[in-house]
Symmetry: C2
Subunit: 474 residues, 2 copies
Amino acid sequence: MPSIQAIRSYQKIVFFVLFNSIFWLPPTMAQSTSDEDAWTLRTIYSNTLTQGGSYEWLRSLTTQAPGRLAGSPASIAAVELTKQIMDTLGFDRVYLQACTVPHWVRGDKEIVRIVNSAFIGSQDLKALSLGNSTGSGPAGITAEVIEVFNLDTLEKLGNSFISGKIVFFNRPMEPTQLRTFAAYGGAVDQRGRGPALAAKYGAAGALVRSMTTSLDDHPHTGATLFQAGEKTIPALAISTLSADLLSRELKKGKVQVFVRNTCRMLKEKSSYNVIGEISGTQYPNEIIGIGGHLDSWDVGEGAHDDGAGCVQSIEVLYQLKKLNYKPKRTIRAIMFMNEENGLGGALAYADSSNARKEKHLFALESDAGGFTPRGLGFSADKDVFENYFKRVNGWAGLLEPFDIKINSGGGGADIGPLRNQKGLLGSLQPDSQRYFDYHHTEIDRFEAVNKRELLLGAAAMTSIVYLIDKYGLQ
Amino acid sequence: MPSIQAIRSYQKIVFFVLFNSIFWLPPTMAQSTSDEDAWTLRTIYSNTLTQGGSYEWLRSLTTQAPGRLAGSPASIAAVELTKQIMDTLGFDRVYLQACTVPHWVRGDKEIVRIVNSAFIGSQDLKALSLGNSTGSGPAGITAEVIEVFNLDTLEKLGNSFISGKIVFFNRPMEPTQLRTFAAYGGAVDQRGRGPALAAKYGAAGALVRSMTTSLDDHPHTGATLFQAGEKTIPALAISTLSADLLSRELKKGKVQVFVRNTCRMLKEKSSYNVIGEISGTQYPNEIIGIGGHLDSWDVGEGAHDDGAGCVQSIEVLYQLKKLNYKPKRTIRAIMFMNEENGLGGALAYADSSNARKEKHLFALESDAGGFTPRGLGFSADKDVFENYFKRVNGWAGLLEPFDIKINSGGGGADIGPLRNQKGLLGSLQPDSQRYFDYHHTEIDRFEAVNKRELLLGAAAMTSIVYLIDKYGLQ
């Protein structure tokens, strides 16, 4: 029934094409680079978007080795799986590198229960033990809760207020921070050192508000730290909704909580980094390392953290081979073991590299999720940073058509120990808005990763590796 | 059991804070603007992120008025709901504006079935009738399928090849386009004009590959166009997986498909735009209009398309009021009716505005999803564009700390008819990678929208509205 509406509908299509579409523009040329580089980057992006392997590798990793905390059977499945994947891709070498890792196990499903509120009666809170926490013993513990918002307050309160109580750390991640990693950095001391400090003043246990800006019912686990000789206590994350509920009850009066968790630290275990490499044709002992971490927390599937970074790192080598590019330097994809609770893999890798007198000209880490990339961040020892950064910043015009900014500041936990080699360190910087919705939870699953976003990150990584290998950093 | 791992874990936390966090930096000052503006934008962002209403308004809209195609009862529920929401927010005026809209209804669940393949036997394809399509009649039709990849080929094939057949348009959205809207623009002619052209050459029906780069089983509906006097035929979208399956079968031999759909166009109906405004203190007849469209397709909940744009538009006024900002110009939030299949609301709005001799100094549309904003795009009549763009580009430094780029090119279907008023037109440009996963499908639901991403878009919109109102465009 064609009518005036039909014509209007056509107008809409015309409007759409005119105004809403931002058509692809060929890469603009930066002064210091060539048309060939622009063409190569465009090819890297096109190949990755149409023939990239990352998404299917991630599907395998998350479904065949979910919950792959260091020391777990799943972590060894992940080692075997990623080696098998790389074995099929025609790299020059694929090998395992031994490391020692802690072996912490969660035990039974945790119970955190408000037991005495006159207002709401008995109420279960959503909780997960923090990694490195000790257990309450099978009988559990019951104690009064005291809420604090920062570690300084805890120190001021001291033994008389804290002893025998369960300390509840409840400072939220700051929602007004545009970058959620900054908000995380501003709150995570509560999880990292809060429980040990509470233990020092005689606390019976610690509860920590989950590290997320989202208000939901997923507890977010993560590592807490008890240093050698420090007293340990049961330490658990509770969901942000549970934290708000507990805080409200505390405003009404005293609250007793029952905590039962049976997590424990077992004996250290042997594990492995998984490494694939393409040998350098001119400077084989100069390394460009690209990495993510293979371990994850034991809940969820470790899709964004950090299955994404692992498969993107493999993709870099895969795409360089597809380009038929013969690198001058040795290009290495490293799946680090044990980033989450020990850095056993990262330290073994750096030790081995130093012993072989390698130099990492560049090390790039992807450990901020598989979301749309917005930039690449760089850091280095201060003696060398300025020169290096000037060099990479010279390629800003080549990367700008792909919406990739070159930023100062970057690196990561796994490549941090390589800093002494005085090369350039970098990190992929994806959009961070959703990351902490999933981080360290049961919902960090394959379905949360978008194929195009994941592949675009890999293409950005491949592009910067290509440029640094081709031109060096001098 | 504190050990070397505990110390390593601490190292990790230190590394994390040093390298991964990009701390918030206060907005840098652009030369043409003041510290006060930087402070105001920072306040807009903080207020929106902590006290924004968008997300809960979107929850109401998507749950109380899902599938709100123009003419449907749900579309009227949406009118009433958004008016009620704005009535509580203390705007100076909230009112309805009448418009005429088509009333197309989907009818029974569509059947598209391969009936004769020797290879796979009978096989149902996932399909949705396209808006404005006619129905097959209750008995359905069965015909041979012919696959084409563009409209030119169809014209060359002509009557002798096309007559009596079902034409299958199967050119994919180009995955190598970085901007998915560009890929959409490059493929949507098949949906918009393919069926009418097929009908011209005697086709019995048309199937169109869904407009998405995703390979999945969700058919994506959308408008097709039959102009006055053109013959109409049943026209349906099939999922990309169904399209690939059908294409494979066609490579093996002839394929007959049974199509049954009972959609039809009813009589035109009255409907409404919903408008809220804050009166200008100095130039009340100069308008800054901010809009999204209130209607959606009848499948899914219209969360990204375009519930997001509606609630963000309301948020702009809400945040300006929170700031206690008294605008010089009249600031108006417009929920346009009938963007999806007629633009009835947009044309009524422009007609009314012209009749009242208003001038829209600026009109801003949000209709590209509730994802993390990456930029604001601008267009205008060519006589005025250069001056206007220079002006807004002068604020790039103020918006840069919020990761918002000022881009040339923007606008939208609903504000397009205002172009004659020679004001500036603009659009919010969110990250586009996921948009076409959800577009016009059953999975465009509230859960697909992230609260922070939605609010950041609203904050970007509020910021540019504030600057344009305060400084004008001369």
